[in-house]
Amino acid sequence: MAETMVEMKHITKRFGNFVANDDISLTIKKGEIVALLGENGAGKSTLMSLLSGLKKPSSGEILIKNKVVSLASPRQATQQGIGMVHQHFMLIDDFTVLENIILGDEKTKYGMIDRMGTRKTITDLAEKYHLQLDLDKKVSDISVGMQQRTEIMKTLYRDAEILIFDEPTAALTPQEIESLLVIIKRLASEGKAIFLITHKLSEIKEIADTCIVVRAGKVIGTVKVSETSTYMMAEMMVGRQISFAAEKVPTNQMRTVLELKRLVVQASKAVPSVNDVSFKIATGEILGIAGVDGNGQSELMEAISGLRKVSSGNIMLNDRDITKFKPRKTTQAGISNIPEDRQNVGLILPMSVSDNLILQDYYLSKNQSKGLLNKSKIHRDGQKLMSDFDIRADSILEPVGSLSGGNQQKVIITREISRNPDLLIAANPMRGLDVGAIEYVHKQILKQRENEKAILLVSFELDELLRLSDRIAVIHQGKIMGIVKTGDVTKQELGFMMAGQPIPTH
């Protein structure tokens, strides 16, 4: 019997009247991988922040190696052998990998940092766990995958025996995900106990031993992963049956809505962010853009919606040249845009739901006359949209910032879809959403497709692109590596194209 590393007993965490964790008990053994599965706001991150010393439980106790401990600060948690690999990396861009690893825990010799000694320690660890690291490169110059390995090394360097991974695969390519999962398995086989917070059922299925499903602050069930299916876990998580079987009905893809002709967008960098991109999208068609974050997707979206200047080439919407259009003119021409960064671009968080719903058309005569906003009509229209699109808010006057992530996204989708556009641009619309909200977004996008809209969908999730798109264009360093029909390509092939390989031939 393997040694029990962590035992949480009847943990409850309250924030005022809100119970984030309600009487949760769990254990993890040496060498075990335990997945924590739950929707956003279910309480899994709160639970792990209790373990990593960021917050204190309201009641209940935490045992590490069968001893009751008090984890009052992250430092104490580190001393107890707990290491956290954060979703958003806590690295300093201008420091080297080595400097980042030792930051806050520098071993010194005669008052100076013992670089030789630490380097030896880290290289030994890297060898043991097969972590490939360029210790002398600056963090700003290394890949996202290596940044994550740096984060993992930070915990190992501090002798962590219990590792918490918070949504570790969110920003990785399929290949990087694959190698991360290998690393996690390796860590477990070397005797580390691992908590994995995730939404992704396939990853749980692949590496976890046990899956703890959390819903509304309570543990709904603890299952052995080998004895269950991804569907069962998903249903436990949301508490009802869900369907991901995206029914793609045949649509009439007769007319070209959007056409890009040799589009070049030169951002601040020397190399163009969007480099000679041409494609067409027809009515009733979803074109997916696959690519690793930062390969020109954002610049492409911004150029089409008028937020960024085009250097050369043309953007045609319904055979009309809109290359030089400013944002407002693009929306008037029939483009809707669900931006990537919903909290900083798509919404004005302190403003009410109602004010956010009119963000794109407050100036139209239906909402104002002679400069005076027609508040009562705006509220009435907003109420109707709220119920039509199932936005859950206390009232139309509630600040959008206090809604859940899923409902915030619903506000944007409602606003953009209700304008009845010809082209809908959606950049990572499912990012950070839970299963229920993802299902909702998928349905809305497919409904737009059925209504013969053209849709440009950017996503870092290949599963999602494969499920929704008619065709997928792969972008790498601003260039389109190839455009493939969804049925003709595998995830692996897309992955290679995302890494810059040319289109595979069958």
Binding site: S305, G306, L307, K326, P327, R328, K329, T330, T331, N337, P339, D341, N344, V345, G346, L347, I348, L349, P350, M351, D355, I358, L359, Q360, Y362, Y363, Q368, G371, L372, L373, K375
Partner: protein, 353 residues
């Protein structure tokens, strides 16, 4: 919850005021002055008779306007520190207009002088707005610098063009441009209370509607809260920035105009910027930018200012004690987060008990 948060909105500034008065009392007690006597003479000095009330309301008049100007700018996301300079330019312009067009009919002269004040303030703030919109210059720095330019420019203009002979003040404005009237003077036992208050109260309503109900106000709020989202929504962010600064400056300019036309009735060489600018900022902060709230917080400041003058008449307490009280209030407004937490803890305890 929404009810209690509304309650907090009123409770927090009230607590700040109370704390300011208490700290003032403690300071007085430490230095051997009688706080009760002094506060009593402060309040009688400000509200004791019709003349005192008139003076307090006259003090309130420009404060409302400069405070409104500050809150318009902060709605759109700017920290307009230049209220003093903008007010001074407004003062300058209104008095100059009144002196140069004295032959105009009464109403035209008055209206023209007031408009000149608003225009000058608007242009002065507009400079900072244009710099911000097109060059990204921090409005904090440019408005401070513009304050100094305004101060010395006004000195130059008064000395060289408006002052007579060797004096350092202009002629008194013609009868037709005066905001004071025999009616109000009679009503308040010859105080300097004047029709400027009507301008201020109208502007409270105008600003309230502008921010809450109009398309322009919606754009101000959007740009102020999240300019990226405003840009995404197709708003012309540069235009909004400049327009908000111009409106903000115009209000401060009006504040200067009512000082010039209603209170001093001339302009003189100043050694420092008119304090309505900075006090207006404090008034706006105490009211957290709310136009209606500005009336009340402005009233409080006016009471302290006018009442403070009579403290040293009755006792030997230096009148500067009032500045300590005001500074303390502003300090507590600044740390309103702490007060909020304190109040929340208090209400929780009551709820449990």
């Amino acid at each position: 919850m929404p009810n209690s948060s509304k309650l907090f909105k009123v409770l927090v500034p009230l607590t700040s005021v109370l704390a300011g008065l208490v700290v003032g009392a403690i300071v007085m007690a430490i230095f051997g002055y009688d706080p009760f006597l002094n506060y009593a003479s402060l309040f009688t000095g400000a509200l004791g008779d019709a003349n005192a009330i008139g003076e307090t309301l006259r003090e309130l008049t420009p404060l409302i306007l400069t405070a409104l100007g500050f809150s318009i700018a902060s709605t759109a996301g700017f920290f307009n520190i230049g209220g003093a300079g903008q007010a001074l330019m407004g003062w300058m312009a209104s008095v100059s207009f009144a002196l140069n067009f004295s032959s105009l009919p009464h109403w035209l002269l008055l209206l023209g002088s007031i408009m000149a004040g608003a225009l000058a303030g608007g242009i002065w703030a507009g400079i900072a707005g244009v710099l911000k919109a097109y060059l990204g210059t921090s409005e904090v720095i440019t408005t401070i610098m513009l304050n100094y330019i305004a101060l010395y420019l006004s000195s130059f203009l008064v000395k060289n063009f408006l002052a007579q002979d060797q004096s350092d003040f202009s002629k008194t404005i013609p009868e037709g441009a005066r905001l004071r009237t025999p009616f109000l003077e009679h009503l308040t036992q010859n105080s300097t209370f004047n029709y400027g208050i009507i301008i201020s109260l109208i502007m409270v309503i105008v600003v309230y509607f502008l921010i809450q109900r109009t398309k322009v106000g919606y754009e101000y709020r959007a740009v102020g809260l999240n300019d990226k989202a405003a840009n995404y929504a197709g708003m012309n962010v540069k235009k909004v920035i400049i327009s908000a600064m111009v409106v903000s400056g115009a209000l401060a300019g009006l504040g200067g105009a009512v000082e010039g036309l209603g209170n001093y009735e001339n302009i003189y060489v100043m050694t420092s910027l008119p304090d309505i600018g900075f006090n207006g900022m404090a008034v706006s902060l105490l009211a957290s930018g709310n136009p209606i709230g500005i009336i009340f917080s402005g009233l409080l400041f006016s009471i302290l200012k006018i009442g403070g003058l009579s403290i040293s008449v009755v006792s030997t307490t230096p009148p500067e004690i009032v500045d300590i009280v005001i500074a303390t209030i502003i300090f507590f407004v600044g740390i309103n987060y702490v007060i909020k937490i304190g109040l929340e803890k208090l209400s929780k305890k009551k709820g449990e008990g």
